[in-house]
Symmetry: C2
Subunit: 130 residues, 2 copies
DNA sequence: ATAAGGGTTCCAGTCGCTGGAAGGTCAAGG
DNA sequence: CCTTGACCTTCCAGCGACTGGAACCCTTAT
């Protein structure tokens, strides 16, 4: 199948699929006319990557996961390790965002939000010593 | 003061400060030797940007906030609007990450993490139909 | 024959820096 | 006066993960 159909079946834009070939993530065969030819196995991989990316795995994580996906003799421990690292990153990011949220919400709550220039948000950003 | 001191006082790397001049965010004067010269007001602005970035505001948000910071006749409502938009983005991002977390945690919890190839994480990424 | 709707390549841009190379300037010490 | 070392300058390239666009080729239907 051509790239357009692979795009439809994988849920990825054709541009992205070409990019994945560029970085040797999912490399299709080529037809006589030079067109990329995607077989069912390629489409599986593309969908796999699409899902993994959707869960926030980096492309490099996807590369590692794909090679485990293809490895009949993988140890599930290796997969779990990658997923757990990603879980830790997610937790860190959530904590960071919650801290932003708290600070910002505090500032917003104290701002009148009217036509006058006095603004606790600006003051807060300017720093404690202002 | 020179860029090195401005860096120390603002908490930003010199490289970043040069970049901020490049994009016309904080533009210092120049000495006869061609060195950037940062006055106290410039340093205030740099610290302001440093804090705003630290709260996750985009550089373009910072540009808008800076111009409000400098505007004696600003309406605090304008500042509040920017901050509230950012708060909404933060909330969205947290929700997204929590969804990732939930899915991934579910997969991880069901993975033995041993030397055998069977792996619910891989299966989950491969899709429901596999 | 032509037009539509695929496909191809390559280059540039996004965002917010960051690293490095090659060179100019300044203050202190010998 | 000269050198050393720390600072400063510019410019170019790269990160991640695409995305847009230009210019061109291929296929199919009318």
């Amino acid at each position: 199948m051509n790239i357009g159909d692979a795009a439809k079946q994988s849920g990825l834009p054709a541009k992205t699929i070409r990019y994945y070939e560029d970085i040797s993530l999912v490399v299709p065969a080529r037809g006589d006319n030079g067109y990329r030819v995607y077989g069912p196995e390629d489409v599986h991989k593309l969908r796999f990557v699409q899902r993994a990316r959707g869960l926030g795995f980096s492309v490099e994580d996807c590369r590692a996961l794909l090679s485990l996906y293809e490895d009949e003799n993988r140890a599930s421990a290796d997969v779990k390790a990658i997923a757990q690292e990603r879980l830790a990153e997610i937790a860190d990011k959530i904590a960071e965002l919650k801290a932003f949220q708290k600070t910002l919400k505090h500032l917003v709550d104290h701002c009148h939000g009217d036509q006058r220039p006095n603004c606790p948000i600006i003051d807060g950003l300017a720093g404690p010593d202002h």
